[in-house]
């Protein structure tokens, strides 16, 4: 396809690439002043306990200690750390410090001290007497009568009208149905059902959570934080520390990866409180162990799904019952749970659908937003069951998918039924490149080619098809401001938060394309709450689609203003003029954006050419993908060697093809690693046993398969220059695609991730 754009669709140099590659001081830790105190948190050694006595006096008396916080000296403000829009769909079940701990790793106290050594010593001097309570670790058991109640405090509550029953450990609940599933299943020729589980996993940004808080001479707090949600940080810190929003400035520097973990407002409240109490700058950073234990995780899941098909292969009914383990706090439980349905069930349109989701509190680490956001957990069951059904029908699983998947022009009652804490939005699919994703992916993996198994090595191939969304319609808002400088460059001030994804580059391309200049003329600044306009933040696959919409609107306004001034300068009609590569064409002579800027700033009718725009979305157009895995299973050891993996993705227009591929490859690799190696191991007391990269295995270059990435171009008319989202979708495919490939290779069905040699070998033995 020829590119009709000059900036969009080109691989311009990533705006921050060289600054990062040359090791510039760009991250929070690089920006801390030398005199910053070290903030450190004492965490709970117990999974479930009441604090009956606490004495901080020895810690406070230690030389070099500036502040000690615990439940006895901070306000008890119920809130959620989820970092969502207001009012939040997650329950208000968290306080800065409580007199109860609910998992190993829960906050007990915090100190600010001159050095990390003094801070650690101060923590060791804090005396805590616990009354141990019975814990519950299994989400299904936690929901049963008689289970220990984790949130027995009277004040935990929800702030939007959704079901919430903390006395039953029920943090979130969603139920919806259309048609008559039981009736439809009774008429089906093939009914397949299974319970699929997914494990605890962590985002593993290579930069752990880190926050720097400084008081300025005006008494305002400047929070420099590694966050995906600067505006939510400002609002939630104001709430927790009982200070007005106007006293807080949040600055986002470069972020060392987030993947959802940094949507959580995790340490900013404590760091701010330490800063306010001490009057000193405070730097607080998580260790890698903290990141595993006390940060956020992918909600583990227990998902029972049933598919009913008639013998012609048509899917007639789907039932899904999802139990999510939200851990000790209900962060994102409702919305991850809703997305289990909304980002998976519409894939196969049928008239009879039932969805039920229960989010259960347990005394384990806390779930949160994690790339994929529920789709990862739910698609595992559905895509494996499609293969089970194909086997029963004697059909090619690829053909069965092609027969049933959603297409352009189709809708799903689920879009309307399942929103994010509210009702969803009715939607008809616009662009859908799924057929091409499937055919091109199949070709790349050589789907039809027979795999030769030999001796103890069995070969197999498997696939999965995927969808996600692009922003949360009618909920999320992004805004941008653009202003023109004398040299024809533009400040692009965006709320949108680049956390390493390259959104500063992609959004600069959109602005440059709309105005008619080269991308190098854009000076992007993202996410400074004092300087840039608002944006909900980098989550829900929204930045390109939503924030890009705001940038495009603001750029259009700028183009009109430039042409208005140019028409005045050239004494001609504005309609005759166009901007190309920074030059205004169509007048008696060619002038530049720089000429226009100089004129408007200094010469006549002076004004700053500048514009702001906000954008909300009416729909959440899904990107689509088809993933394929080629595996070799060692029938003796159970080791699954992933030979080749193909990700074919339709994300609409790729604004920056290499960055879009990079998003796909990164998400794919994370998904593969999740499917094959990543998991939390706990002892019987709920303590994580493997909180280090040495014992929690994420894939390296030595582990990776041959990777093939195929971007299938489509044009989504509601997105900026036809773009949809790309960041999340490709994390979801590996779990079902590899399970299907293992099934194809050796006939065992892996229903519990990850597919470690131990699990696969056990399954092989059980089959034998």
């Amino acid at each position: 396809m020829t590119n009709k754009f000059s900036q969009v669709g080109t691989n311009v140099r990533k705006v921050d690439g060289m600054a990062l590659a040359t090791g510039g001081s760009l991250f929070v830790a690089d920006l801390a002043p030398e005199n910053a105190l070290c903030g450190m948190i004492l965490t709970s050694p117990h999974a479930h306990a009441r604090i009956v006595r606490m004495d901080i006096s020895r810690a406070e008396a230690l030389d070099g200690v500036y502040a000690v916080l615990y439940h006895g000296n901070v306000p008890r403000i119920l809130h959620t750390t989820a970092g969502q829009g207001f009012p939040e769909p997650s329950p208000y079940d968290t306080v800065m410090f409580d007199n109860k701990v609910r998992y190993v790793g829960d906050r007990v106290a915090a100190v600010a001290a001159e050095t990390p050594e003094i801070a650690a010593q101060a923590l060791s001097l804090i005396e805590v007497e616990y009354e141990i309570l019975e814990p519950v670790f299994d989400p299904v058991k936690a929901l049963q009568p008689g289970a220990p109640v984790i949130h027995d405090e009277p004040d935990a509550h929800v702030v939007i009208p959704v079901p919430y029953d903390k006395d039953r450990n029920l943090a979130a609940f969603v139920e919806t149905s259309v048609g008559d599933v039981d009736g439809a299943l009774a008429k089906c020729d093939v009914v397949v059902t299974g319970t699929y589980t997914t494990q605890y996993a962590q985002h593993c940004p290579i930069e752990p959570h880190i926050t720097l808080c400084e008081l300025d001479p005006y008494g305002r707090v400047r929070i420099t934080s590694s966050t995906q949600v600067p505006w939510h940080v400002r609002r939630i810190v104001a709430q927790c520390c009982e200070i007005p929003v106007r006293r807080i400035r949040v600055v986002k520097p470069r972020i060392g990866g987030g993947f959802g973990a940094k949507q959580e407002v995790l340490i900013e409240d404590v760091c701010t409180m330490l800063c306010l109490r001490s009057g000193q700058p405070v730097l607080m950073e998580y260790s890698r162990k903290d990141e595993f234990v006390s940060s956020r995780t992918r909600h583990p899941s227990v998902c029972t799904t049933t598919l009913g098909l008639t013998k012609d292969g048509k899917i007639q009914a789907i039932r899904m019952h999802m139990v999510l383990n939200t851990g000790a706090y209900g962060s994102h439980a409702l919305t991850v749970g809703s997305n289990c349905g909304s980002k998976v069930l519409p894939m196969y349109p049928c008239e009879h659908i039932e969805f039920k989701m229960e989010g259960a509190y347990t005394n384990l680490p806390v779930g949160g937003a994690y790339r994929g956001y529920g789709a990862t957990q739910a698609v595992f069951s559905v895509e494996c069951l499609i293969d089970e059904a194909a086997a029963r029908l004697g059909r090619d699983p690829l053909e069965l998918r092609v027969q049933n998947h959603i297409r352009s022009g189709m809708g799903s009652p689920i879009f309307k039924a399942l929103g994010e804490g509210t009702e969803g939005v009715e939607m008809t699919i616009g662009s859908c490149g799924l057929p091409e994703c499937i055919s091109l992916g199949a070709e790349a993996i050589e789907w039809k080619k027979p795999r030769q198994s030999s001796g103890r090595k069995a070969r197999g191939v498997g696939m999965a098809i995927l969808m996600q969304g692009s922003s949360i319609p009618h909920v999320d808002m992004g805004a941008a401001t653009i202003k023109l400088n004398e040299d024809g460059s533009f400040n692009l001030l965006m709320g949108a938060t680049d956390l390493g994804t390259g959104s500063d580059t992609v959004l600069s391309q959109i602005a440059a394309e709309e105005i008619g200049v080269d991308t190098t003329m854009m000076i992007p600044l993202s996410s400074d709450t004092d300087v840039t306009p608002f944006d909900v933040g980098a989550y829900a696959s929204s930045t390109t689609y939503l924030s890009g919409g705001a940038v495009k609107k603001a750029a259009l306004l700028i183009r009109h203003q430039i042409l208005e001034v140019a028409a005045e300068m050239l004494r001609c009609e504005q309609e005759k003029l166009t901007i190309e590569d920074g030059r205004i064409l169509g007048g008696a002579k060619v002038i530049t954006c720089s000429d226009v800027a100089l004129h408007s700033l200094y010469s006549h009718n002076q004004k700053q050419i500048m514009a702001s725009a906000s954008h909300i979305t009416e729909k959440s157009p899904p990107p689509f993908a088809a993933h394929f895995a080629d595996v070799e299973v060692d029938l003796d050891t159970g080791f699954v060697k992933l030979l080749k993996y193909v990700s074919a993705v339709d994300c609409g227009t790729t604004i920056h093809p290499k960055l879009a591929e990079g998003q796909t490859e990164g998400a794919t690799m994370n998904g593969i690693s999740f499917a094959l190696t990543e998991e939390y191991l706990f002892n019987e007391k709920g303590r994580m046993l493997n909180p280090s990269f040495g014992h929690y295995k994420i894939f390296t270059t030595a582990d990776m398969p041959e990777m093939v990435t195929i971007m299938v171009p489509t044009y989504e008319t509601t997105g900026p220059y036809g773009a949809k989202s790309v960041s999340e979708i490709s994390i979801n495919g590996a779990l079902p695609a590899i399970s299907n490939a293992i099934f194809n290779a050796c006939g065992v069905r892996m229903m519990h991730g990850p597919f470690t040699p131990e699990r696969v070998a056990r399954a092989l033995r059980e089959k034998a």
Binding site: R13, A19, R288, S692, M704
Partner: protein
């Protein structure tokens, strides 16, 4: 306290350090921002430096052990105006997403190209095995190392 003397990117520094100070913490304390702490346990590889030209993880080396030796970090490789071919190749390949792991990975790549001027994909995979990256899936980084190796070989000939 232990007196140490070491060469950091061509500059000699002399100071006294506590015995258990790591080279990583020393480098960050003297303002070498490119050396990152991702775990402090030798697992993530974000803190790699060249110690007398050998790629090591600076969180696993004590500052006192580095005394008398020379340390090279990405600051010595190139700058925004005059980048090293590896830096150019990484940026242009799309191998830099969040960039947190990149300075160290560039040094690992430099070291592996010194050992294998025309590295195969297998050699690159082995050479970058100790550098975790959660953003990219490594595909573009492997491409970038191959591109840079070719450019560096060309420059050697010139």
């Amino acid at each position: 306290m232990i007196p140490i003397q070491l060469d950091i990117n061509g500059q000699t520094i002399e100071m006294e350090v506590v015995p258990d100070l790591t080279l990583l913490d020393l480098l960050r304390a003297v303002g070498v921002a490119s050396v990152k702490k991702g775990c402090g346990e030798g697992d993530c590889g974000a803190c790699g430096v060249l110690l007398d030209g050998v790629y090591v993880k600076s969180c696993l080396i004590l500052a006192a052990q580095a005394s008398g030796h020379s340390v090279e970090t990405v600051e010595s490789l190139g700058n925004v105006e005059h980048p090293h071919p590896l830096q150019t190749a990484f940026v242009d390949a799309g191998a830099v997403q969040c960039g947190f792991c990149i300075p160290s990975m560039l040094l690992a790549a430099k070291s592996l190209i010194e050992d294998h001027p025309e590295p195969t994909v297998e050699q690159i995979r082995e050479g970058l095995d100790g550098n975790l990256c959660r953003c990219t899936g490594y595909v573009k980084q492997i491409e970038a190392v191959q591109t840079a190796a070719a450019v560096m070989k060309e420059e050697d000939h010139d």
